[in-house]
C-alpha cells in the first residue's frame, strides 16, 4: 500500500501532521531572544572605546588586557577557584555517602532525609545568605574564605547528590551482592565494584557543584568579607556601582569558562558511556 492509497490522516508522517502551526516561529524567535543579548555583549567587549555604549569604535582587545592585568580581579578569581574546589570535593564526598545510604532498601524517614538534602535548592538564596550571615556572626566565624567555603559546601551537596543517586539507581543491585558473595568486605565491594561503576555520576555531580559554586552571587555576597571576594561578587559590585566597560570583557571571559567547563563535562560523560 503506497502512501497515495492511504487516507490522508494516515499519511501524517510524510505530510507533517506532527507539526503544530506557529510553534516553529515561536521557537526560532525564542532562540533569537536567548542569544542576541549574549552575542551583543561579546561583540561589544571587543569595542575599542566605551564598550557599554552601543557605538562600535573599532576592534580592540584592550579591555581584556585591562581585566587580566587587574590584581583585584585576579585575586577574586583565585578565591573563587579555591572555594569552588574545596566545596566541590567536600560536598561530593558527603553526597556520595548519602547517595549510597539511600540506594539500599528503603528505610523509615527516607523521605524526610531526601527532603533535607534537597532543602538548599528550595530555600531562596537571599534567605540562605541572611541566615548564614546571622549564624556566622553569632558563632563568631570571621567572614572570609572559610565562611564562603562552608556556605558553598552545603549547596554543593544536593547538586552532587542528584546525578550520583541517579547513577546508583541504574546499577543492578545484584552487583554489590555478588561482590559480597565473592568475599569482598563492604569497603572492598565499594572500592572495586560500585565506585568504578558510578564514577560518571560522581564526575557529573562534581561538575554541577563546581559550576554552581563558581557562579554563586547572592550567598557569597552576604557571607564574604573584605579581601575575600569571589569573582561573581566582585563583578556584582562593579556593575552595581555603574556600568564600566571592563565588565563586558569579564562577562565574556566568564561565559567562555562556563561553556568550556560544560563542554568538557559533556565530553567526559560521553567517554564514560
Amino acid at each position: 500500500m503506497t502512501d497515495a492509497a492511504l487516507p490522508a490522516r494516515f499519511a501524517f508522517r510524510r505530510f507533517g501532521l506532527w507539526r503544530f502551526p506557529g510553534t516553529r516561529a515561536v521557537a526560532i524567535a525564542a532562540f533569537f531572544y536567548l542569544y542576541v543579548p549574549i552575542v551583543a555583549l561579546v561583540i561589544l567587549s571587543f569595542s575599542a572605546g566605551d564598550s557599554s555604549l552601543a557605538r562600535w569604535q573599532g576592534f580592540s582587545v584592550h579591555w581584556y588586557a585591562d581585566v587580566l592585568g587587574n590584581a583585584d580581579m585576579l585575586r577574586a578569581i583565585r578565591n573563587s577557584l579555591v572555594v569552588a574546589s574545596v566545596a566541590t570535593v567536600t560536598g561530593t564526598v558527603i553526597a556520595t555517602m548519602a547517595a549510597l545510604a539511600t540506594s539500599g532498601p528503603r528505610f523509615r524517614r527516607q523521605a524526610v532525609l531526601e527532603a533535607m538534602i534537597g532543602l538548599p535548592l528550595i530555600v531562596p538564596d537571599v534567605v540562605a545568605g541572611i541566615a548564614l550571615l546571622l549564624l556566622f556572626v553569632m558563632v563568631g566565624v570571621p567572614l572570609g574564605i572559610t565562611s564562603i567555603m562552608l556556605a558553598h559546601t552545603v549547596f554543593a551537596i544536593p547538586f552532587a547528590y542528584l546525578p550520583i543517586r541517579a547513577r546508583l539507581q541504574g546499577l543492578d543491585r545484584a552487583l554489590a551482592e555478588a561482590a559480597a558473595d565473592l568475599y569482598a568486605t563492604p569497603w572492598q565491594g565499594f572500592r572495586r565494584i560500585v565506585l568504578p561503576l558510578i564514577w560518571p555520576g560522581i564526575a557529573a555531580g562534581a561538575m554541577l557543584a563546581f559550576i554552581s559554586s563558581l557562579g554563586d552571587v547572592v550567598v557569597s555576597y552576604f557571607v564574604s568579607g573584605p579581601g575575600s571576594t569571589t569573582l561573581p561578587v566582585y563583578v556584582f559590585s562593579m556593575v552595581r556601582m555603574g556600568v564600566t566597560p571592563a565588565v563586558n570583557a569579564i562577562s565574556t571571559l566568564l561565559m567562555l569558562a562556563s561553556i568550556v567547563l560544560l563542554t568538557l563535562s559533556y565530553l567526559l560523560g560521553r567517554r564514560f558511556q
Binding site: 543492578d172 545484584a174 555478588a178 559480597a180 558473595d181 565473592l182 568475599y183 569482598a184 568504578p196
Partner: protein
C-alpha cells in the same frame, strides 16, 4: 510392581550416566552427610506483613543437586538468600557442615551464588571476573591464574579471558557467572533461576551442562526454579514449596509418582484431578456416580482427590472395565497425542498416548471411546 514408600529400589532414570555411584540412591542417601541444614526458618518482610517462610526445615546432602521448586512468592529465593547471607531470618538457624552460619555476613560464608541477572561485573574482563573471589581471599597470583584457567576450561570459555561482558552473549555471560562462583571451590553453590533468561534450546543444553558440572566438580548445588520440567531434569532431590512452606521433598520419581498433596500433583507435570467420596477401603465414587477401584487405600478420609497421570490412562474400545467417554479434542504434538475427553457426568479428562507407531488417526473428535484407568495408576490424596 508397587512403587510406594520413600526408597524405591528399582528406579531407572534417563539421567547422565554416573561413573562412580554404583550403589542405589537409598544406600547413597544413608551414608551422605548433611551439607546445609535449615532448622525451622521463619522470615517475614515489612514488619510481619509478608510471611515469606514459615517454620521451614530442610536438610540438603553434600554432593547432591538439590532443587527448590515452586511458583513465584513461595519463598524459594528467600531461602536461598538466607543461606547466602543476603537476608537474616527472623527465627531458626542455618548450619553449614554442622556449623551455624547465623550472624556471618555473606563475605564470610564459604558459599557462592549464581544470580538470575548474572551480575557479571561490566567493567572487568572475563578473567578478572572469575579471579575476583580469589583476589578477595588474597590467594597468591600464580594460584589465581591456574584456577581461573581451570575454571574457564570447565565451563568451556577458553579464549575469552580478555573480553568484556558487554561483548558476550547471554549464554556466555551466564557461564562467566558460573565460573566466577566455581573458581572459589565453595562448599555449596547457590543458583537463583540462572537459566530463566535463556532461549529454549540453550536452556536445555545448559540444564544438562549444569548437571554434568555438578558431577564433575562434586559440590552441593542448590538450584531455585519455578520450571518443574527443569527441576525434574536436573535434580537428585526436589523440595516443592508453596506460600512459605515445603510441601514435599523427594527424588523426581517420588514427587512425580507419589505426590503427597494436591498442589504438588497439579504443579508437577500434567495431571487429572478427580474429587471423589470413599465407598470402600479402595473404592471411590465420583460426583457423576462413576465408581473406581484403586490399588492403594490412601489417607483415612471420606472425601479425597484421585490423581491420574494422562500417560497412565488408556484409550480402549467401549465396554468391559473401560469407562465410557466422548472425545472432545485431539491434539497432536509430535511425539505424543493428547486426547481431551469428557467422561460420564461431564468430567473432563486428559489421556496422553505416545505416537510409537507414527501419528495415529484412528480416534477423531466426537467419537465415543472407552477410557481405562488402571487401579495401580491412581493416587489417592487428601482433599
Amino acid at each position: 510392581m508397587s512403587t510406594q514408600g520413600k526408597n524405591p529400589t528399582n528406579v531407572t532414570r534417563l539421567a547422565v550416566a554416573r561413573p562412580d555411584n554404583a550403589a542405589s540412591p537409598a544406600a547413597r542417601a544413608q551414608r551422605a552427610t548433611i551439607a546445609v541444614d535449615c532448622q525451622t526458618i521463619t522470615k517475614t518482610f515489612g514488619n510481619g506483613a509478608v510471611r515469606a517462610l514459615d517454620g521451614v526445615s530442610l536438610a540438603i546432602r553434600s554432593n547432591e543437586f538439590f532443587t527448590l521448586l515452586g511458583p513465584s512468592g513461595c519463598g524459594k529465593t528467600t531461602l536461598l538468600r538466607l543461606i547466602a547471607g543476603f537476608e537474616t531470618q527472623d527465627s531458626g538457624t542455618i548450619l553449614l557442615d554442622g556449623r551455624p552460619l547465623d550472624g556471618l555476613p555473606p563475605y564470610r560464608r564459604p558459599v557462592n551464588t549464581v544470580f538470575q541477572s548474572y551480575a557479571v561485573f561490566p567493567h572487568l574482563t572475563v578473567a578478572q571476573n572469575v579471579a575476583f573471589g580469589l583476589e578477595m581471599q588474597r590467594r597468591p597470583r600464580a594460584e589465581i591464574e591456574t584456577r581461573v584457567k581451570e575454571t574457564l576450561g570447565l565451563v568451556k570459555l577458553e579464549g575469552l579471558e580478555s573480553r568484556r561482558p558487554a561483548q558476550l552473549s547471554g549464554g556466555q555471560q551466564q557461564r562467566v557467572a558460573l565460573a566466577r562462583a566455581l573458581a572459589n571451590k565453595p562448599r555449596v553453590l547457590l543458583l537463583d533461576e540462572p537459566l530463566s533468561a535463556l532461549d529454549l534450546k540453550l536452556r536445555t543444553e545448559m540444564q544438562l551442562e549444569l548437571k554434568r558440572l555438578q558431577h564433575e566438580v562434586g559440590i552441593t548445588f542448590v538450584f531455585v526454579t519455578h520450571d518443574q520440567h527443569e527441576a525434574l531434569t536436573m535434580s537428585d532431590r526436589i523440595a516443592v514449596m508453596r506460600a512459605g512452606h515445603i510441601l514435599q521433598v523427594g527424588t523426581p520419581e517420588e514427587i512425580y509418582e507419589h505426590p503427597s498433596a494436591r498442589f504438588v500433583a497439579d504443579f508437577i507435570g500434567e495431571t487429572n484431578l478427580l474429587d471423589a467420596t470413599r465407598i470402600g477401603t479402595a473404592r471411590f465414587r465420583l460426583a457423576s456416580g462413576v465408581e473406581l477401584e484403586t490399588a492403594e487405600p490412601g489417607p483415612p478420609a471420606e472425601t479425597v482427590t484421585l490423581v491420574i497421570r494422562p500417560e497412565r490412562a488408556l484409550l480402549a474400545p467401549i465396554g468391559g472395565t473401560a469407562f465410557s467417554a466422548r472425545v472432545e479434542q485431539v491434539v497432536y504434538i509430535g511425539s505424543d497425542t493428547i486426547y481431551l475427553v469428557v467422561l460420564e457426568g461431564g468430567l473432563r479428562f486428559r489421556v496422553r498416548e505416545q505416537n510409537r507407531d507414527g501419528p495415529r488417526s484412528r480416534v477423531r473428535e466426537g467419537d465415543a471411546v472407552g477410557v481405562v484407568l488402571p487401579p495401580a495408576a491412581i493416587r489417592v490424596l487428601a482433599q
